[in-house]
């Protein structure tokens, strides 16, 4: 698995009630990698958080990591 996808996968699995329903699909674009995160519908709130704070924290770690690799990464939480 792509390293950035693995980072998101690890965090998401730790956050949710149903870790076995977590998938992260890495879609490689020209200029950015898009990470499509899916979780059980009942766990959506757990990865988004109040006012999107959990999603934002994941994105902060994602961009800190991708910047060092000179890549751009976008986290897309699929509903």
């Amino acid at each position: 698995m792509d390293q950035l996808a693995e980072l998101i996968d690890y965090i998401a699995r730790a956050l949710v009630d149903d870790p076995e329903d977590v998938t992260v699909e890495a879609v490689e674009g020209d200029r950015a990698i898009i990470l499509e995160l899916t979780v059980a519908p009942s766990d959506l709130g757990k990865v988004i958080g109040k006012d999107g704070r959990t999603a934002r924290a994941m994105r902060t770690l994602l961009s800190a990591t991708s910047a060092r690799m000179r890549r751009r990464a976008i986290l897309d939480i699929l509903e």
Partner: protein, 199 residues
């Protein structure tokens, strides 16, 4: 910023990441195992961020402090501590997923949080003095609730100013307002060169 990173780079390395050094001398405090779990989670995230860092646990009755050290500690802090805050937020979410026996987890690196707080309080006092001297309201940068609270508290007893917050969400800022009461009382009135409050 560079200075801090250099300081942190010189910090002694205490073994490689994920090597479980069993140096707990206070198991009784960690009867719920949350401190160890929190450390494991933080180490798991840091290694997947490709950061070379170690995590030590300091704990007291209420909170667990996870101390990040090693060559990449500066990167774990990030610009304005943003990375450290994101790590702390996520580790808290994960460790306190269940409502029973919540424990507050602080993610720190050396004395980063301490220094951050001191800098914040010093800055607030400086700006408060400027607000009084210039007789005008000073608006600070947007900052998180925790930092705003610290500033409100630290200026609560500062003479001749009041503070309040304005704006929504991430854009919320503190305003330091010289109190109108400061116009008369003091002996410094004859030194006033500038009209009060507006120009």
């Amino acid at each position: 910023m560079d200075e801090r990173e250099n300081e942190l780079k010189e910090a002694p390395l205490e073994g490689a990441l994920l090597v479980g050094v069993e140096d707990r001398d206070d198991d009784d405090l960690d009867e719920d195992g949350k401190a160890d779990y929190a450390r494991e989670v933080l180490e798991g995230i840091l290694s997947r961020m490709d950061l070379d860092a170690t995590v030590d646990v300091r704990e007291d009755d209420e909170r667990v402090v996870l101390d990040v050290a090693g060559p990449d500690a500066g990167r774990a802090i990030g610009k304005k501590g943003q990375t450290l805050d994101a790590l702390q937020f996520l580790v808290n979410k994960i460790v306190n997923r269940f409502p029973d026996g919540r424990r507050y987890i602080v993610v720190d690196s050396g004395d980063y949080r301490d220094r951050h707080d001191k800098n914040l309080v010093n800055m607030a006092r400086r700006e408060a003095k400027r607000a009084v001297d210039q007789g005008r309201t000073i608006t600070l940068e947007p900052m998180p609730a925790r930092d705003r609270r610290l500033i409100h508290l630290s200026l609560a007893k500062f003479p001749d100013v009041t503070t309040k917050s304005n704006g929504e969400g991430l854009g919320r800022r503190i305003q330091i307002i010289p109190s109108s009461g400061s116009r008369g009382g003091g002996g410094g009135d004859r030194d006033r060169r500038r009209p009060r409050r507006r120009d």
